[in-house]
């Protein structure tokens, strides 16, 4: 009896979901999942990178992912790997990919083990105002990326790029923020952020 009841109910549920307007969202997420197969070759399973130089995308804010891909596509942000891949993406692709990756659970690299360096990292993230835009838990918001659990080497590269004004910066905020950072600060910050959950 249970079996047959479930068999009757399942199609009804599917129909209700479709009629209720969930179908469009589901299609986006599915489309994003399918399109993301190219991305995960570098960015890791579900967008959790295992390559220190390649950023994780899992759990990044939707608007940040769209913005980053747009900047690569339009040629403002440049990268030998990303520029050609982004060049042919449509706006719908950007949205679908963002829908998929923003919904994935972040699995950070292994945390920093030295408690002294970890507390130094926390202090720096406050001293340099990281928490003011990226949020108290550094999870990002809207167009601002999540830093918690990001790959350390990727973070170092970005911070050095902002400091030397070679990394495209939409509004100049990160270029300004990176100016006072010493190399030692960048090391500690990158390690600390990478270890956050």
């Amino acid at each position: 009896m249970l079996h047959s009841a479930a068999a009757v109910i399942a199609p009804v549920v599917a129909l209700v979901l479709a009629v209720g307007g969930r179908a469009a969202f589901a299609a986006n997420a599915d489309a994003g999942h399918e399109k993301a197969q190219v991305c995960v070759a570098c960015h890791g399973p579900q967008g959790n990178s295992t390559n220190p130089a390649v950023p994780s995308l899992a759990g990044q804010p939707h608007q940040f992912i769209v913005t980053a891909l747009f900047l690569f596509r339009e040629g403002n942000r440049k990268d030998p790997q990303m520029t050609p891949i982004a060049a042919n993406l449509s706006n719908a692709d950007l949205n679908d990919l963002a829908t998929y990756f923003s919904a994935q659970k972040s699995v950070p690299p292994k945390p920093m083990v030295d408690p002294e360096r970890a507390s130094a990292g926390k202090r720096l993230s406050e001293k340099y105002y990281c928490v003011q835009c990226h949020g108290p838990a550094l999870l990002g918001q809207q167009h601002i990326p999540r830093l918690a659990g990001q790959q350390a080497e990727y973070l170092r590269t970005q911070l050095r790029g902002f400091k030397s004004s070679t990394r495209f910066d939409m509004d100049g905020v990160m270029t300004s923020a990176a100016q006072p950072l010493s190399d030692a600060d960048i090391e500690v910050l990158a390690e600390y952020l990478s270890g956050l959950r």
């Binding site: 489309a31 130089a53 913005t67 790997q81 449509s90 692709d93």
Partner: protein, 426 residues
């Protein structure tokens, strides 16, 4: 932009190749990074908050208020809740075009081309009206915050963050635009972190007027910041025009008096209701409008206002409201709207963000009576959906432009859309 073709429909055949390419790239990337460049011996800049946060009091440090960034791709009109938009009786609002990423300032070419600029991105677009269907072209690329644009006698003038350039005869060469000719350079010597974008307008004297904003929220500006300046496009000679102007990104000349009216953004982080943003008029060149000493014409700054008096400075004609961020502003000299709209002003309000309950996000009409007294009323509204939400709005008006037929165009950088407001007396 909306014509971009996706690679994904052909993904099944191309997926394997792309994956291999991507893997090859991963391997290339996995090589160790070069060692960090040693810091110069000179002491680094002190840690400073972002320009938009500067000037917060100690009890505001954990505030969750923040500015909003545009949806850089824009959104198709079909995804927007256009039924929420409201205009006065007899008026109609519709989407004139979508697909113009981060649509900022508007300028109309002699032959009917609409030019649209970027602020945070780097392009200038042309929108062509082909029998009611609109085609969007990217005309100029790779500019530095080309927010200010003016079209006059065949020439497009563009104000980037650091310079003003001209493109002669561009309307006939949209697919192959001419090289830029520099009118004036060096307008951003400090690489200022905030308010680095410029508005540009052509004065009745044939000179190009532009702003240089305050580099931070509340700070002592340098000799060439917090000002309205003008440059003679023929000689490149720059002159001061008005001082003590924190940030203006919208100004126009009264059709009869020829005086310059401008909308000005007040400082942030004083309180939800203080100070008000302003509408000002310049009666004579060289007037000082108060920044950073005096806000909204009657309130001294707690830090910079010590030992000063607001009576030193020119007060506003109208207080527009706190944090509403008035941007594009133009007088209405068209023939489509009712007669009482003639010589009224329309002001696009892009904010607020620095306020716990949001207001603004509309286009207001400003009426000036015979005694020079001004009042404002909402004209186009409905973008603000939930004053407590983050974000609170679905669209943000930026610039207004009166078309030859008398209709009013309004740009929206959040969605990459230009709206048209028209009037039918029947």
């Amino acid at each position: 932009m909306s014509m971009r073709i996706s690679v994904w429909p052909s993904m099944l055949s191309g997926l394997a190749t792309l994956t291999l390419l991507a893997l090859a790239h991963c391997i290339a990337q996995a090589q160790p990074a070069p060692p960090a460049v040693p810091s110069p011996a000179a002491s680094p800049a002190p840690a400073a908050p972002p320009a938009w946060q500067q000037g917060r009091s100690a009890d505001q440090v954990s505030s969750s208020l923040h500015p909003f960034a545009p949806i850089v791709t824009g959104r198709p009109a079909s995804e927007l809740p256009l039924d929420k938009l409201k205009v006065p009786p007899g008026f109609k609002v519709e989407v004139w075009t979508d697909g113009v990423p981060e649509a900022r300032s508007l300028a109309l070419g002699d032959k009917g081309t609409l030019f649209v600029s970027n602020r945070l991105q780097s392009n200038v677009y042309a929108v062509l009206d082909r029998g009611g269907k609109r085609e969007v072209k990217t005309v100029l690329k790779g500019l530095q915050s080309p927010n200010g644009i003016v079209f006059d006698k065949g020439t497009l003038y563009v104000a980037e963050r650091h310079r003003i350039v001209r493109y002669d005869g561009i309307e006939d060469r949209l697919d192959n635009p001419p090289d830029s000719v520099v009118i004036v350079d060096g307008l951003d010597p400090t690489q200022q972190p905030g308010h680095f974008w410029k508005y540009l307008a052509l004065g009745p004297d044939g000179k190009l007027y532009f702003n240089i904003g305050s580099p931070q929220n509340i700070t002592m500006p340098t000799y060439m910041q917090a000002a309205i300046m003008r440059v003679d496009p023929k000689s490149g000679v720059v002159e001061d025009y008005a001082r003590g102007v924190r940030m203006t990104v919208g100004f126009d000349w009264h059709p009869r008096t020829k005086q310059l009216w401008f909308a000005e953004h007040g400082r942030d982080w004083m309180s939800d209701d203080m100070p008000s943003d302003k509408l000002n008029v310049v009666k004579q060149r060289g007037e000082h409008f108060g920044f950073p000493y005096c806000h909204q014409g009657d309130t001294l700054d707690p830090e910079f206002g010590k030992n000063r008096s607001c009576s030193e400075f020119t007060p506003p004609v109208l207080k527009l409201g706190a944090h509403v961020a008035p941007l594009g502003m133009r007088f209405y000299a068209g023939n489509m709207f009712p007669a009482e709209y003639r010589n009224n002003m329309f002001i696009a309000q892009h904010g607020s963000w620095n306020r716990s309950t949001k207001q603004g996000y509309n286009v207001v009409r400003v009426v000036i009576d015979d005694k020079g007294k001004a009042r404002s009323e909402p004209f186009l509204e409905g973008f603000l959906t939930d004053p407590k939400a983050d974000p609170p709005m679905w669209g943000r008006p930026v610039d207004v432009l009166v078309m030859k037929d008398g209709s009013l165009l309004v740009s929206d950088d959040y969605n990459g859309v230009v709206y048209r407001v028209s009037y039918n007396k029947n």
